[in-house]
C-alpha cells in the first residue's frame, strides 16, 4: 500500500516544523498525543481485536474448518445465542453450543460473523487502497505540474463530485455481474475525489520548498520527485482520511447489502448478515442486533482512530490543549 514510501526519514511535517527542533520525532509526538485521547485509544484496541478476529476468521472458516459457516442444520434454526446444540446435529459445533445462535437455515451465526469479518474488512481495505492509488496519482500530477494538467484533473474531479455517489455505485454494481471484487473496485473508483484534492493542495504548497528544488536540481525524474520526496510529506492527512474512508466503505457495503446488491450468498459479510436479519426482527432479534452492533463498533473504532490521528497531527489544536 501507500505506506511503504513513508518509511523514509520524513523531514518533518511542513506545518509542524516550528516545534522545538530536535526534541522528538514527529511519529513519537503523534503517538504521545494519541495516547492521551482515550476514545482513539479504545478505537485502536477494537481495531487490533478486529484484525486478529478477521485473520482467525479466515483461518478457522476456510483453511482449517473449525467453524463451518455454510453448514445448514435445518432442525436447529433460529436458536438464541449460547443455545446448546441437540445431539442430532452433526457435526456438533465447537463447545456443543451456538455462541451467537443460529439463523433461519440453522447456520452458526458465530461462524458466519467470523467469515464476514474478513470479508467486510477486506472490502474496506481494498476499496480504500484503490481510492488512494487514484487519489495520490491524480492529486500528485495536478499539484506537481499545475497549469493545464491541474485544470484538467480538477475539472474531472468536479465532474465526479457532481454524481450522487451512492446512486452511481448502486447502478454500476447492479449492472455488473455480482462479485466482491466489483464492489470493492466500484467503491474505490467513485470515492477518490477527496484524497485527490487533499494531495493537490499539499503538493502545491510543497512545490516551492527547498528540498523539492534540491531534488529537482539533482536531476531526479519527475515521478521520483513526486512520489519519493513530495508525497511522503503530504501523506499524514491522507492517511487520516483513509482511515475514515475504510469506515465508510464498510458502511457502503452494508447499505448495498440492504438493497440486495452487496456480497452475495453463500459468502457472508456483516452487511448481508444484517440485511438478512431484518426479516427476523421479532422472532430472532439477535440476527439483526449482533451484526448491527458489530458494524457499529468497528466503524466507530475506525472513525475514532482517524479523528484522534487528525487531532494529534494538527499542531494548532494541539497547542490549545
Amino acid at each position: 500500500m501507500a505506506a511503504a514510501p513513508a518509511r523514509r526519514p520524513v523531514p518533518a511535517l511542513p506545518s509542524g516544523s516550528d516545534a522545538a527542533p530536535g526534541t522528538v520525532s514527529v511519529r513519537g509526538e503523534v503517538w504521545r498525543q494519541l495516547r492521551r485521547d482515550r476514545l482513539a485509544l479504545a478505537g485502536l484496541v477494537v481495531l487490533a481485536l478486529l484484525f486478529v478476529t478477521a485473520l482467525l476468521g479466515k483461518l478457522l472458516t476456510e483453511w482449517v474448518v473449525v467453524f463451518d459457516p455454510t453448514l445448514v442444520r435445518l432442525p436447529e434454526k433460529l436458536l438464541p445465542p449460547l443455545a446448546a446444540a441437540n445431539l442430532a446435529a452433526d457435526p456438533l459445533p465447537v463447545f456443543g453450543r451456538y455462541l451467537l445462535g443460529t439463523d433461519d437455515l440453522g447456520r452458526d451465526v458465530f461462524a458466519r460473523m467470523l467469515q464476514g469479518s474478513f470479508v467486510s474488512l477486506s472490502i474496506g481495505f481494498v476499496a480504500v487502497s484503490i481510492e488512494l492509488v487514484i487519489g495520490l496519482a491524480l492529486g500528485g500530477l495536478a499539484g506537481f505540474y499545475g497549469g493545464r494538467v491541474d485544470a484538467l484533473i480538477m475539472r474531472f474531479t468536479d465532474v465526479m463530485l457532481c454524481f450522487p455517489t451512492f446512486f452511481l455505485i448502486l447502478t454500476v454494481v447492479a449492472l455488473l455481474p455480482p462479485s466482491i471484487w466489483n464492489i470493492m473496485i466500484v467503491i474505490g473508483v467513485t470515492s477518490w475525489m477527496g484524497t485527490c484534492r487533499f494531495v493537490r493542495a499539499e503538493l502545491l504548497a510543497l512545490r516551492e520548498q527547498d528540498f523539492v528544488r534540491a531534488a529537482r536540481a539533482l536531476g531526479l525524474s519527475d515521478a521520483r520527485v513526486i512520489f519519493r520526496h513530495m508525497i511522503p510529506n503530504a501523506i499524514a492527512p491522507v492517511l487520516v482520511s483513509a482511515t475514515i474512508a475504510v469506515a465508510s466503505a464498510i458502511l457502503t457495503e452494508s447499505a448495498l447489502s440492504y438493497l440486495g446488491f452487496g456480497v452475495q450468498p453463500p459468502d457472508a459479510s456483516w452487511g448481508n448478515i444484517l440485511s438478512d436479519g431484518r426479516s427476523f426482527l421479532f422472532d430472532a432479534p439477535w440476527l439483526f442486533l449482533i451484526p448491527g452492533v458489530a458494524i457499529l463498533l468497528v466503524v466507530l473504532a475506525f472513525n475514532l482512530v482517524g479523528e484522534g490521528l487528525r487531532d494529534a497531527l494538527n499542531p494548532r489544536l494541539r497547542r490549545m490543549r
Binding site: 457532481c162 448502486l170 447502478t171 449492472l175 455488473l176 457499529l296 466507530l300
Partner: protein, 320 residues
C-alpha cells in the same frame, strides 16, 4: 459581476455535458442490458432479444444512442424502457414528493448542527463537548437502515406514529387539518432519519471550524478589548466560521439524493431515490440516465448559488 455570472454558467453547462456523456458511457459500457433482465426465460429467443435491442436502439453505436437520448430529452419524447411512459414528468413528480423530505432533513441538520457545534467548540473538553462528540461519532458510524429499523420499532410501539408512505391510505374524507397533520407525522420520522448522519457530520464540522477561528488573533484582540463573551463568539468568531458552510450548500445535494435511496426504500416513500432504485432493478436506462443528469444539474445549480453567495458574504472575494 455579469461577466462572472455568464462565465460560471457557461462553465457549468460544459460540465453538465461532460457529466451526461460520462454517465452514458458508464451505464452503457457496463455489461448487462435491458434485454438481459430475464436471461433464464426459455421463451426469450435470440430474435426477440434482437428485436428488443433494435426497438431501443441498443444495437447502434454509442454516440448515436447518446444523440437519440439527447434529442428525446430535448423534445420531451424520452420514454421509459419499462412501461413506455414519458420520463421527465415522472422524475419531476417523484422529485416533488422528495422535496419535503429533503427540505425538512436540511432544516433539521442546519438548525441543530450550529448550536451543538458552537457550544461544543466554546466549551471545549466539557461534558457537553464530550457527549456530543461521542453521539456524533455514534451516528456517523451506525448503518442508517439499522438505526432506522430500531427507531421505527420504538416509535410505532410507543407513540403510535405512522411511518410508511406519505399519507394514510383512505384518509381523504377527514378534515383538512387532520390531513395536514397526517402528512406531517408521515414526514417526521423519515426526514429525521435522513438528517441524522448529516447532522452529526455538520456539527463536527461546525465545531472544528469554530475552534480554528477562535484561535485567530482577531478573536484574541476582541477578547482583549474586554468585549463580552457572547459578542466575541457570535459577532466576531461565528461570522467567519460560517463562510465555508456557504460552499457546502451545493455539495449537499448528491448526498441527499444518494441517501434517499435507502431512506425512501425503508419508509416506502414514493420519491426520487426509490424511482432510481426501481429503474436500476429494471435496467431502465433512460430513467437512470436522466435521473443522474437531473441530480448533476441540481448539484451544479447548488454550487452556482454557493459561489454567488460566497462572493456576497465574503467581502474579500470580488467577482469579475
Amino acid at each position: 459581476m455579469a461577466a462572472f455570472l455568464v462565465r460560471a454558467l457557461a462553465q457549468r453547462l460544459g460540465l453538465l455535458v461532460v457529466i451526461s456523456m460520462l454517465a452514458f458511457a458508464v451505464i452503457h459500457l457496463a455489461p448487462g442490458e435491458p434485454s438481459e433482465v430475464d436471461p433464464m426465460n426459455p421463451r426469450m429467443k435470440p430474435q426477440d432479444i434482437a428485436r428488443i435491442r433494435a426497438a431501443f436502439h441498443l444495437d447502434e453505436p454509442l454516440h448515436a444512442q447518446y444523440g437519440y437520448w439527447l434529442r428525446d430529452l430535448a423534445t420531451g419524447e424520452l420514454r421509459s424502457f419499462k412501461d413506455g411512459q414519458p420520463v421527465v414528468p415522472r422524475i419531476w413528480e417523484r422529485f416533488l414528493n422528495s422535496v419535503p423530505l429533503f427540505g425538512v432533513a436540511i432544516l433539521i441538520e442546519w438548525t441543530f448542527a450550529f448550536p451543538i457545534g458552537i457550544r461544543a467548540a466554546v466549551t471545549r473538553g466539557s461534558r457537553f463537548d464530550r457527549t456530543s462528540t461521542f453521539l456524533a461519532y455514534f451516528l456517523i458510524s451506525v448503518p442508517s437502515f439499522f438505526v432506522a429499523y430500531l427507531v421505527v420499532l420504538g416509535v410505532v410501539n410507543t407513540f403510535q406514529l405512522p411511518v410508511i408512505g406519505m399519507r394514510t391510505f383512505g384518509f381523504e374524507p377527514a378534515s383538512s387539518l387532520r390531513l395536514v397533520m397526517d402528512r406531517f407525522w408521515h414526514l417526521a420520522i423519515p426526514s429525521l432519519m435522513a438528517a441524522l448522519t448529516g447532522l452529526a457530520v455538520m456539527s463536527r464540522y461546525v465545531r472544528s471550524q469554530m475552534l480554528e477561528v477562535v484561535a485567530q488573533d482577531y478573536v484574541r484582540t476582541a477578547r482583549a478589548k474586554g468585549l463580552p463573551d457572547e459578542q466575541v463568539i457570535y459577532r466576531h468568531a461565528l461570522r467567519n466560521a460560517l463562510l465555508p458552510f456557504v460552499t457546502m450548500f451545493g455539495f449537499l445535494i448528491p448526498g441527499l439524493i444518494g441517501g434517499s435511496v435507502i431512506i425512501e426504500q425503508i419508509f416506502a416513500w414514493p420519491g426520487i431515490g426509490r424511482l432510481g432504485y426501481e429503474a436500476i432493478l429494471a435496467r431502465d436506462f433512460p430513467v437512470i440516465l436522466t435521473l443522474n443528469f437531473f441530480a448533476a444539474a441540481l448539484t451544479l445549480a447548488g454550487t452556482f448559488v454557493s459561489d454567488v453567495l460566497y462572493a456576497v458574504v465574503d467581502p474579500r472575494i470580488r467577482l469579475g
